[in-house]
Symmetry: C2
Amino acid sequence: MVEATQPRRLTPKGRATRERILEAAIALIARQGVAGTSIEDVRAAADVSGSQLYHYFDSKQALIRAVITRQAESFLDSGRPRISALDSFDALRAWADAAIDQQRQTGCRGCSLGSLAGELAVSDEETRGDLATGFLQWKDLILNGLRAMRDRGDLRTDADLEQLAFALLSALQGGVLLAQTVLDVEPLEAAMNVTLAHLETFLTGVR
Amino acid sequence: MVEATQPRRLTPKGRATRERILEAAIALIARQGVAGTSIEDVRAAADVSGSQLYHYFDSKQALIRAVITRQAESFLDSGRPRISALDSFDALRAWADAAIDQQRQTGCRGCSLGSLAGELAVSDEETRGDLATGFLQWKDLILNGLRAMRDRGDLRTDADLEQLAFALLSALQGGVLLAQTVLDVEPLEAAMNVTLAHLETFLTGVR
């Protein structure tokens, strides 16, 4: 994933061009899926020449990997102050609500790491590895928040933090997948509410 | 979905041929994904002529819809006696364990309605509709089981059954998606354990 997260040093203009290509790819993939998006579609939408595009992304595969990395990072640096660290019940609830709102605002469509995973993981080993890295980073971010809660005395010491972290991420991914398929946010709300209710039973109440 | 679930009346030989084509398609899609599977691949794997294949499935789309219907049905008629009705905590636990075992046995690969949904729902409105129908049937099967438990007095009357049913299905789909991406069954186990633990808090204990 290194080449995707740390592109070689670019001029400000180069960074802007790379960014324009990446954003065009993200928007097209959200609408059409990966299989339905060609390099030529991305080139036309970003309004760049073929040689410009290949300067930054030398294959469709490289472009898709950059999209995956961006999707994982956009969660990690979402910029919402309450979500920068998932280290309180309120922060986890706000994270869940932000995901639910996002689905509601996009009419339960839109590009998530999860829908990319569904489309790509089956058939492409390298991409599966990138997706796995993204998911495990995400899980660790949740896990670190839960550990901070436990160390602070907010969570009982018998809580299985690894299990809770994977359950929260699975609830999010499964809920988004179902919401996008049935075009209704209800499954996502149900999954997050139930998983957070279980987490809540481990709160010590001394927050 | 009618044409896919109720194909026109076929002779026993016709049914066997249609079945052979469908099973070849399911196996290929599990290995290669939908985008990576051509009609020609299916024809060769099923060892039928092109005209035979088109007699039963007049397009790749028709074939994919039949695969989706079969995936949803295979859950509903899985033939495992304890899973034919999800109307007790033990049956729900057995259902979760069967899903976990299946992922473990396939090395966290394999074709699920969920991975089909991830690959297809974004880009194809008709297929999305079929998948939504499949998921909602599945949710209703869980919901009917939970209602039977409540009516029998096994579940407290304040349990939100619709929420529990969607949460169980989301946990399964998200857990399978993560398991298939990170190649480890742990996220699926975590998701099912947490959701069932929440359900358990609504048991009346008079089972």
